[in-house]
């Protein structure tokens, strides 16, 4: 081989070797730090905004957002031991319950603190195509949803906090409205055998079966909110129990519910704790089957094993700041 050709070949081969060993730079000319952020599914849309804003401020950082259900988000750290920088959940109580405990690998807690930053409310989401869309109001929503030709959707309570919160809304409605049988009409009687709400020491308690297959077409259950909403937008169902921020983010119409029902109030006097859903089985060994009614509060934390703590802290601060500014798809700020 002529010497000059040898030199060119050597340069090309070494260049390819470098590229093949992970030297891609994403077009920035230098290696980027990956910031792994795991939010609950209902935060995915607003977190896209935070990701863009953060990357604009930090061109050297590639924010990678990966959504899961809230419990699965935490499990990525506690059970699957993945290196995660930021965790954000739709149920703040899960953090002390699941992460304020010792990580056997490090001898320290998975985390020691968290920042509640937003709240949300359950609403009845619908579209212009929904049956009786022009009739439904905050006053008659129960009667409209109970009509035999109306189909209703919830996400799977085994998998999604919005799912068991949907059931809680019907139980709270039965406490709030006189002569209400919404839990039975919308959920209970659409299983074989029917699900019943038992009074256990003053708490309306529903025990779910292991496999959640409704026995008729009135009630539709899907694994995650996105599939329920897809069904709603396609006209397969008429109404869905959903978070207000998600309904807004999907440009849906929605009916607001009274604070005594919608799980948005921080006032203990609302009595959310008077309803309980017992899941059909213990899907995760780390957390029990009981879900007791409480306000919907979002929280963010940085695991003690986060690879990039300083950046993670900056990202969490930006989440809180952006949340305070609000915007489409954001849950309401805690102070608002």
């Amino acid at each position: 081989m002529p010497p000059i050709k040898f030199l060119v070949a050597a340069v090309v081969i070494i260049g390819m070797l470098c590229w093949g060993t992970g030297c891609t730079t994403g077009g920035t000319g230098h290696e980027q730090t990956v910031l792994k952020v795991l939010p609950a599914g209902s935060l995915l849309q607003p977190f896209e905004e935070v990701e863009k804003a953060f990357e604009a401020e930090h061109p050297d950082v590639d924010v990678q957002v990966e959504g899961h259900g809230s419990i699965q988000v935490i499990r990525q750290v506690t059970d699957l031991h993945r290196p995660v920088d930021v965790v954000a959940v739709a149920d703040a109580s899960l953090i002390p319950d699941l992460m304020f405990r010792t990580d056997p690998a490090t001898g320290t807690n998975f985390t020691d603190s968290y920042t509640p930053f937003a709240r949300n409310a359950m609403v009845i989401a619908y579209t212009n195509k929904s049956r009786y869309a022009n009739e439904i109001t905050s006053e008659n929503w129960g009667a409209v949803l109970s009509r035999p030709d109306v189909r209703v959707g919830i996400s799977n309570p085994m998998l999604d906090a919005a799912g068991y919160r949907s059931i809680m809304v019907t139980l709270l409605a039965d406490r709030y409205y006189a002569n209400s049988t919404l839990f039975t009409d919308l959920i209970g009687r659409h299983f074989t055998p029917p699900l019943v709400a038992e009074d256990v020491d003053g708490v309306a308690t529903v025990r779910l079966p292991e496999v959640l297959h409704p026995s008729d077409e009135k009630l539709v259950i899907r694994d995650g909110s996105i599939f329920v909403l897809s069904h709603l937008e396609a006209g397969g169902i008429d109404y869905a129990f959903e978070y207000r921020s998600v309904a807004e983010g999907h440009d849906l119409r929605w009916i607001d519910l009274p604070p005594a029902i919608d799980l948005s109030s921080q006032n203990p006097a609302e009595g959310y704790g008077k309803v309980k859903v017992v899941l059909g089985f213990q899907r995760f060994s780390a957390i029990g089957q009981d879900r007791i009614g409480q306000p919907i509060v979002y929280a963010v934390t940085i695991p003690n094993t986060a690879p990039n703590r300083d950046l993670a802290s900056e990202f969490a601060d930006l989440v809180v700041k952006e949340s305070e500014s609000g915007g489409k798809g954001w849950p309401a700020t805690l102070g608002g």
Binding site: P3, I4, F6, L7, A10, V11, I14, G15, C18, T21, G22, C23, H30, E31, Q32, T33, V34, K36, G41, L44, D62, Q64, E66, G67, H68, G69, Q72, R75, D79, L80, H81, R82, P83, S155, N156, M158, L159, D160, P209, E210, V211, H213, R222, D223, G224, S225, I226, F227, S230, H231, A234, G236, G280, F281, Q282, R283, F284, S285, A286, P307
Partner: protein
Amino acid sequence: MIRAAIPVCILLVLSCWCAGCAGTAPASPPVTTPADDFSSWRLTVNGSTVTEYTLEQIQKLPATAGNGFAVSTVGIKYGPYICTGVLLTDLLAPSGGISEGEQAWISAPDGYLWVFDHDQVQGNGFITFNESLKEIPSPPLRILLMYEQDGKPLSYNDGGPIRVAIISDEKGVVTEGSAWVKWVDKIEIKKA
């Protein structure tokens, strides 16, 4: 000239190294997982009788292959894969099978559990989507205990040595990922 090229090559390698292209820690540490040595792994099938399997024993059972494609609760798709393994119904048969009114509880050492009713064990009652995640009528499905994905042994990171896969003879059929239990080590038959 060749001698002149050697220092050039050394300089190139060094510059790559200095630029973080070799030997430096990756931006995000890799997931720490046990090596893919499954020799101590055992699968317990607890039906009317209790049977324990090694991976080698599982691999000697009649194998089935099919198309598997899963989606997470937030819409992340995993696949499509060619899944190879043992049908759940075949695996349950030596332990007494599953009858009407019974359920298969499938769990893993990471603490995850999923429950299938009798109908699902027969391949019925699953929600299915096309590749655009639009719901479609379910074609015939089967539950597989997968040990090979796309012709390669299932790695630990992918849920190996054994994970649940919901398979179809058709391509592009997506099923809900909650049922795709990773790292399966126990199957129990229980009354509903």
